[in-house]
């Protein structure tokens, strides 16, 4: 009886391991920053990718009739106000414009890199703005 237990256990374990490994490799997404994506270039074309960054408010363009959306993202918060040229990626998306899509929001786009360097997203996640580093409303200093 012990032998049956062990053989059964090994078979089940093997099946589960196979299931996990094959599912990971088929659904794995590489999570990259804007710079990494530009750096790796076309090596990443065609793969399931996730790129995240801060939204450049001025770049948001949306055509409601076609539900087509495009916007640029940069890697860091500081780069949003940079005066010199920084690395950006243009995200293209078909769908309603997400509520949280605004300047400085953090966006995570899942999809594929196009040959022309733009990124077509089939899924867009907007992160709740991190509040703990934000500036508070207009200062009114008071003596205590």
């Amino acid at each position: 009886m012990r032998a049956k237990f062990i053989i059964g256990g090994v078979v089940v374990a093997a099946a589960v391991v196979y299931l996990i490994v094959s599912s990971i490799s088929s659904s794995a997404q590489y999570y990259l920053t804007v710079k990494e994506l530009r750096g790796k270039g076309q090596a990443m074309a065609g793969r399931n990718l996730r790129v995240s960054g801060y939204v450049v408010g001025d770049s948001i363009a949306y055509t409601p009739q076609a539900s087509s959306l495009s916007f640029d993202i940069v890697d860091t918060h500081e780069e949003l106000s940079a005066t010199t040229k920084v690395d950006t990626i243009k995200i293209l998306y078909t769908g309603p414009k997400p509520d949280l899509l605004q300047h400085e929001a953090q966006a995570i786009a899942e999809g594929k890199l196009n040959p022309d360097g733009t990124f077509t997203a089939n899924n867009l996640l907007l992160k709740c703005p991190t509040r703990y580093e934000d500036q508070l409303p207009t200062p009114t200093p008071s003596a205590k």
Binding site: M1, K4, F5, V12, V16, L19, I20, S22, S23, I24, S26, S27, A28, Q29, Y30, Y31, L32, R50, S52, Y62, P64, Q65, A66, S67, G95, P96, K97, D99, L100, Q102, I108, E110, L125, L126, K127, C128, P129, T130, R131, Y132, E133, D134, Q135, L136, P137, T138, P139, T140, P141, S142, A143, K144
Partner: protein, 709 residues
């Protein structure tokens, strides 16, 4: 400032907790009862102290004291009063205080219980409970202090600090304690700062579901620390008989129930408010709360084997340690944003302390377990591969494999980033492919295990009960489904198993009621009531499984047969989905009742198969700080939900984009959730008969072992 009372209360609670640990251990080692009593009182006093501290935060929110950093972050003039109160757990610092407060209330409940039966365990239960309590209080005091006030530094930055400007800021930062430095002090020359208004809670957090979801999750998390403390006390004292399990059985059940309710509320909130059409995204934070629930479910079942047959003792210890570790890790993942997720809070300095604490608790617990391995030998062996015991073991194995699979998917990004320098995440397809197939044998076991006898079941007898009625019923159901057009193999397999399990539950109830009716002559209804009343564990458990069956129907419907479409519509234009037509009529501005919120609603007419059905009003909330929310409009029935989202619109109201889903059978999920909760309450409800039965079992076991206490 008045809120300083709260700060003092937290510091006193911290001191009381530390004293309690020391006094409890000393009292146990030197066999001095008075020290143990003192430790117990110290642990008790933490609860009112933290209640006071929490009330101070609520008070600060209510009066609009924006000098307090936390109030400025989570409250504002325009925030409704109810939300000002619940904002206590709306931000990181307050929610850690809230966790600590809930922990102190649970600990107080444990301290106040009758200890006559487990006198030996008491000192160590106190000690372990207070170690956990002190850890969370240490986080609050040192790193995430909600009593910090706002200051303006000489360079113009606004910072939060508990104590104010001091040279200690620079001193502590220079020796590497910048986390503590920034929490407690501000740079020299900083001046008090009071903003005119607060930021207010993020719009996403202002809905009823989001208000109730964290408390229930925390109740679940905190609840599991009690059985863990008892288990550790049992290992430390060597009193590893079943006393600790019997004593904590209700705590464990309630913690598990609260965690389950928290998960259900989170799913309902995601469905109702987040507006992506679903209820579970396998997000890291969702998984963080799910994993302890999975191992907790395994634990709930396997302790029955220990109580009945004295087996699986080591396994049960392992499970409670694993569940507790996953509770702490779950809090860690949610609070530190270590795995990027839609919910995560900003990265903060509490990450390393959490990891260290988890590591220490794990090493300590496993060490204790290994030391007491000899005491935990099974009293019985597995008699047959076909037995209730082996069914439970198989079920436990499946739960743990699912737990492991979810953990692999959730933690994968961390490891891939550490070792492969590539951050790889794993999305819903992974979980669907791995967890889905594992659920099938689990549902089958859920259905059939109650029919398998203990020790050794005869295949013939089992075959009879398992197939005579459930067989044809299931077959008929499947044929009907097939005839109705259900062809997807996964849906058919899932429904087969679900109908099978559900049928057995009904059969068990009918058998029980019939037997009672025959032997006592009671009416059917009275027989049913008394049947459940006198066997709450068993029939409550069946009810819980019935809830799972109903939820399974909902999951299959929404997973396999969801429909989705999206279109921009001009006024008067329609879109089609399934057999519905959705026509855009006009855009309306709706009064919101809140000064910082504007509601724009789209009026749409819905007809089905050409016949007018209803008018729906999906809307968008726009907040003055620029944030937006689009909750869906729902038209629901047991058959399906029509889920309509207002995606976007032209400001002149001429054009609006709609995203529409049909979610088949989704309301079976929520119905199943309610049955699940009811079933757990039935199973947990104290019953005089069962207490007496349990007591006589215990006495029998003790006298057999020849021990008097």
């Amino acid at each position: 400032m008045v809120t300083d009372i709260g700060l003092i209360a937290v510091l006193l609670a911290f001191a009381a907790g530390i004293y309690s640990i020391v006094a409890a251990v000393y009292g146990a080692q030197s066999r001095r009862d008075d020290w143990v009593t003192s430790a117990r009182n110290a642990a008790l006093v933490v609860a009112p102290l933290l209640t006071l501290a929490s009330l101070m935060i609520v008070y600060s929110n209510l009066v609009g004291n924006y000098r307090l950093e936390y109030t400025a972050h989570v409250s504002s003039r325009a925030t409704p009063t109810a939300l000002k109160i619940t904002a206590l757990w709306g931000g990181q610092n307050g929610s850690l205080l809230f966790w600590s407060w809930l922990m102190s209330v649970f600990a107080a409940g444990v301290m106040l219980r009758k200890w006559d039966k487990n006198r030996d365990l008491m000192p160590y239960v106190i000690a372990v409970t207070e170690v956990i309590q002190v850890f969370f209080l240490a986080l609050v005091v040192l790193f995430a202090n909600p009593f910090a006030k706002l200051w303006q530094t000489p360079t113009g930055d606004i910072v939060g600090a508990v104590f104010g400007a001091s040279t200690l800021f620079a001193t502590l930062s220079s020796i590497g304690l910048s986390g503590i430095a920034q929490t407690w002090f501000a740079p020299v020359g900083s001046l008090p700062f009071t903003p005119a208004d607060g930021q207010g809670l993020a719009p996403l957090l202002r809905h009823p579901g989001m208000v109730a979801h964290p408390p229930f999750l925390y109740l679940g998390f905190v609840g599991f620390t009690i059985p863990y403390a008892f288990a550790m006390a049992a290992l430390i004292t060597g009193k590893t008989n079943d006393a600790w399990i019997r004593t904590t059985r209700r705590w464990t059940l309630m913690a598990w129930l609260f965690l389950g309710i928290g998960l259900l509320l989170g799913a309902r909130w995601a469905y109702d408010v987040l507006g992506w059409g679903g209820y579970w995204g396998w997000d890291a934070v969702e998984n963080a709360a799910l994993m302890p629930w999975i191992s907790g479910t395994a634990f709930l079942h396997s302790v029955m084997i220990q109580e009945k047959r004295g087996m699986l003792k080591i396994w049960n210890m392992f499970l409670i340690i694993l569940t507790f570790a996953q509770v702490v890790l779950g809090t860690f993942i949610t609070r530190t944003g270590v795995i990027s997720s839609v919910h995560s809070f900003a990265r903060s300095s509490i990450g390393v302390p959490f990891l260290v604490f988890t590591g220490v608790m794990l090493v300590g617990s496993v060490g204790l377990l290994l030391a007491r391995l000899g005491d935990l030998k099974s009293e019985n062996k597995l008699d047959s591969m076909l037995s209730r015991e082996s069914a439970f073991i198989a079920q436990n194995a499946l739960f743990l494999i699912i737990n492991l699979a979810v953990a692999i998917g959730t933690y994968f990004p961390i490891f891939s980033e550490l070792f492969a320098n590539n951050k790889i995440t794993v999305g819903p397809p992974y979980y669907d492919n791995v967890v889905g197939p594992l659920l099938a044998p689990l549902i089958l076991l859920m259905g059939i295990a109650p029919l398998i006898s203990w020790r050794a079941a005869s295949p013939q007898a089992l075959g009879r009960t398992a197939l005579t009625i459930p067989g044809p019923v299931t077959l008929t159901a499947v044929v009907i489904l097939f005839a109705l057009g259900i062809r997807n193999p996964w849906a058919l397999l899932g429904m087969t198993l679900i109908v099978y399990a559900g049928t057995i539950i009904v059969v068990e109830y009918v058998r029980g009621v019939r037997a009672r009716h025959r032997s006592t002559g009671e009416s059917w209804l009275a027989a049913l009531w008394n049947l459940i009343g006198r066997n709450r564990r068993r029939y409550g458990g069946y009810l819980v499984h019935a809830g799972v069956v109903l939820m399974g129907v909902g999951v299959i419907g929404t997973h396999v047969y969801q429909l989705e479409t999206q279109q921009a519509l001009a006024v008067g234009q329609s879109l089609s989905i399934g057999d519905y037509q959705v026509t855009f009529r006009r855009l309306e501005l709706v009064p919101s009742g809140q000064a910082d919120k504007r509601i724009i609603s789209a009026r749409v007419d819905v007809s089905q198969g050409g016949k007018p059905l209803a008018t729906m009003r999906p809307f968008q909330e726009q907040y003055t700080n620029g944030e937006r929310m689009t909750p869906p409009a729902l038209l629901g029935s047991m058959k399906e939900d029509l889920y309509v989202l207002l995606g976007g619109f032209e400001s002149d109201g001429s054009l609006a984009t709609f995203k529409v889903f049909i979610n088949p059978l989704v309301n079976w999920l929520w119905l199943g959730g309610i049955v699940f909760i009811l079933g757990t309450l039935v199973a947990a409800w104290p019953s005089a008969t069962e207490e007496r039965r349990a007591l006589s079992v215990e006495r029998g076991a003790l006298s057999a072992a020849g021990v008097a206490r």
